[in-house]
């Protein structure tokens, strides 16, 4: 049974702050277990976004994408995103906007409302743990997401 809300974090857990996406999902899963009023939520993680993730959007009422970002204002930014034909197809890793565009094209319809929670990151070195700043930003991002999900 597909849950109406999907939280999807991505990144490589072995590359420093790139772990923010999967770590966020891990912590938010525990948090959601204590908040049944948030309703049924599906949680997914992956290394990177790709075309088949468009299929994970089917049947959702809302979706929260979560990723580490070198560009986001600290501690994190939350923004509504729309389907867009951008240039992220030039790598194995797609942007969430591009995944929405694939959804719209192959499903022949509008994707569900989607948001991107971009958590400010600092370093992506192999084998390093989260930086102290990223750890603080992760805590703030969890609070931001809790407000988002509670607002329905």
């Amino acid at each position: 049974m597909t849950a109406p809300t999907l939280v999807f974090g991505w990144g490589n857990p072995s590359r420093g702050d790139d772990a923010l996406g999967p770590l966020f999902v891990e912590h938010f899963t525990s948090l959601a277990a204590r908040h049944p009023e948030w309703g049924k939520v599906d949680f997914l993680t992956d290394f990177q976004l790709q075309v088949e993730h468009a299929l994970d959007l089917q049947g959702r009422r809302r979706v929260l994408f979560v990723d580490a970002s070198l560009d986001a204002a600290p501690p994190c930014t939350l923004a509504r995103i729309e389907a867009a034909r951008d240039a992220s197809f030039t790598t194995h890793a797609m942007s969430p906007q591009a995944v929405l565009k694939v959804f719209a094209d192959i499903d022949d319809g509008e994707p569900p409302p989607c948001w991107l929670l971009a958590i400010r990151a600092e370093r992506f070195e192999l084998g390093e743990p989260l930086t102290a700043a990223a750890q603080r930003n992760l805590t703030a991002a969890l609070a931001t997401a809790a407000d988002w999900i509670a607002a329905g």
């Binding site: 991505w10 990144g11 490589n12 857990p13 072995s14 590359r15 702050d17 790139d18 997914l44 993680t45 992956d46 290394f47 990177q48 790709q50 075309v51 088949e52 468009a54 299929l55 990723d67 580490a68 970002s69 070198l70 560009d71 986001a72 867009a84 034909r85 951008d86 240039a87 992220s88 197809f89 030039t90 790598t91 194995h92 890793a93 942007s95 591009a98 565009k101 694939v102 094209d105 192959i106 971009a118 990151a121 992506f124 192999l126 084998g127």
Partner: protein, 502 residues
């Protein structure tokens, strides 16, 4: 392979074009091209940032963690590393033969990986070039352009990849960082429900995979002269082979042939790979250049991956793929079998073989068995070799008496293909860039040659704001004469829009 254009005689007098990073490949690569004032090409090099540091990262870890840890090498083929590490540690545990259920579950996982990786590469990374033309408008030359113009092709690509991912999820236990394969066997078999779920769509996947072979064959027929000549060069090759000479992507001995197709070694025991393979270094590249020791560094380079596997095996052990292999080898007097773009055709034949193999395994009751682990006499070291989507993958570990890894050596598919990719881009530079004004469309030809090998450069770091493509033409004095850029937000700046030479 030749080394013409590897090093220019007077590089300080030439201007430099850099493609950095190369796009639609996994990880980060860079091509530099040195041109004189008449745009004549003097030097072409592909530079790749390799997995430096990863072997160190593994050292000191308990061996049983390794098959899970090594998946973090790569966001595209984690299962290949998972299985190669497991095979190496089987040997370390002295396990000579897995239980039937364990071997078939690992094979099922591996074929799922081949399916998803080959589908991604063909439908989403290469089909834009093939369907729209090598120098077509960059704004549509991407998967979204394919979706818009050829929605059925794109949809099949998405669903084939999704099916492969589902096979991985059910065999490895989860989508990412699966734990299904462990030293000595597996920790789960397929449930009745999982088996039924996968069987439901398998015949559709077989049909679509046959269609995919038809697409690339049709493209070869329509563009015969261009496809056969594009980046073409003669090369030695290597792959794993089954005892009867059949293609085997999971296990076998090493087979190598020289540039004329003559055997160099056959059914070679890979646990002593260093007896036949050496690794050369060059001052301008971080990535090593493997070579056959019997031929030396100059003549001993080779290529691996779908083209080597399909052309060097005696047959493919599934009927539809074997029929397509025969057609591929016979096509136009065998011309496609030596073409760099023949990689795409061979890749689709392998995808069909993988889907047929999944079908056969799903009909085999052993995959629901409960005898999952084998044991043996503990050794100090282990070597595991597998045919990953991009080619032969070698994992080699030494483990101490405390069960900690004290040494690790990995030779990945893209490293085997280092010299071959450099040769292909030099051939393309000679064919398309020499003496003409360089445009983005022409530079894309260089990238197409690299993408044919589906290199996995594997940074697996992709945070927002990274992965731009920048192409700069720099004068001999270091002045930027022209540049073009595009990034994840879709900003594109074409040549000539930015500045005049200062």
């Amino acid at each position: 392979m030749t080394f013409e254009l590897e090093t220019a005689k007077s590089p300080e007098t030439l201007r430099r074009v850099a493609i950095d990073p190369v796009s639609r490949v996994e990880g980060h690569g860079k091509v530099t091209i040195l041109l004189d004032d008449n745009n004549k090409v003097h030097q072409v090099r592909l530079h790749i940032v390799e997995f430096r540091g990863f072997e160190k990262f593994i050292q000191g870890r308990p061996y049983w963690e390794v098959p899970v840890m090594v998946q973090r090498l790569c966001g595209i083929c984690p299962v290949s590393h998972h299985l190669a590490a497991s095979k190496a540690l089987d040997m370390m545990l002295g396990v000579k033969q897995l239980t039937p259920t364990a071997e078939k579950m690992r094979r099922l996982m591996h074929y799922g990986q081949m399916l998803q990786s080959h589908a991604l590469h063909f439908f989403h990374l290469s089909s834009p070039d093939l369907l729209f033309g090598f120098g077509s408008d960059v704004a549509t030359r991407n998967i979204v352009g394919v979706v818009a113009a050829h929605p059925e092709v794109a949809k099949k690509g998405v669903l084939l990849r999704k099916y492969g991912q589902e096979v991985i999820r059910m065999t490895a236990g989860k989508r990412v960082h699966g734990t299904g394969s462990i030293p000595g066997g597996v920790n789960k078999s397929l449930s009745t429900e999982e088996r039924a779920e996968l069987l439901k769509d398998i015949y559709q996947m077989v049909a679509w995979s046959r269609d995919a072979v038809g697409i690339i064959r049709g493209l070869f027929e329509q563009n015969l002269t261009q496809y056969n000549a594009f980046g073409r060069f003669r090369s030695a090759g290597m792959c794993l082979i089954r005892a009867d000479g059949a293609m085997d992507l999971y296990h076998g001995g090493l087979r190598a042939r020289d540039i004329d197709g003559k055997p160099l070694f056959d059914h070679f025991d890979y646990s002593r790979y260093w007896d036949v393979i050496g690794e050369d270094v060059k001052p301008w590249s971080y990535m090593k250049f493997p070579f056959f020791k019997s031929l030396g560094t100059e003549d001993g380079s080779y290529r691996v991956g779908p083209l080597s596997r399909v052309t060097m095996c005696d047959h493919i052990p599934t009927p539809l793929a074997d029929k397509e292999r025969e057609a591929f080898l016979a096509f136009d007097g065998g011309s496609a079998a030596g073409a760099t773009l023949g990689y795409h055709w061979a890749r689709m034949i392998e995808m069909l073989h993988s889907v047929e193999s999944i079908k056969d395994l799903l009909h085999d009751d052993d995959i629901t068995g409960h005898d999952l682990m084998a044991t043996g006499e503990r050794q100090e070291r282990g070597v595991g070799v597998i045919e990953a989507p991009r080619g032969t993958l070698i994992h080699h570990y030494r483990v101490d008496e405390n069960d900690q890894v004290i040494r690790a050596n990995l030779i990945v598919s893209t490293t085997h293909n280092n010299q071959a990719m450099n040769t292909a881009v030099r051939e393309v530079a000679k064919q398309y860039l020499d003496g003409v004004e360089i445009t983005e469309g022409l530079l894309n030809h260089v990238e197409i040659a690299i993408r044919a090998f589906d290199p996995c450069l594997s940074c697996a770091t992709h945070a927002l704001g990274q992965m731009p493509l920048e192409i700069a033409i720099v004068g001999a004095d270091g002045t930027v004469l022209d540049e073009a850029t595009r990034d994840h937000r879709g900003l594109t700046r074409e040549f000539g829009e930015v500045r005049e030479p200062s």
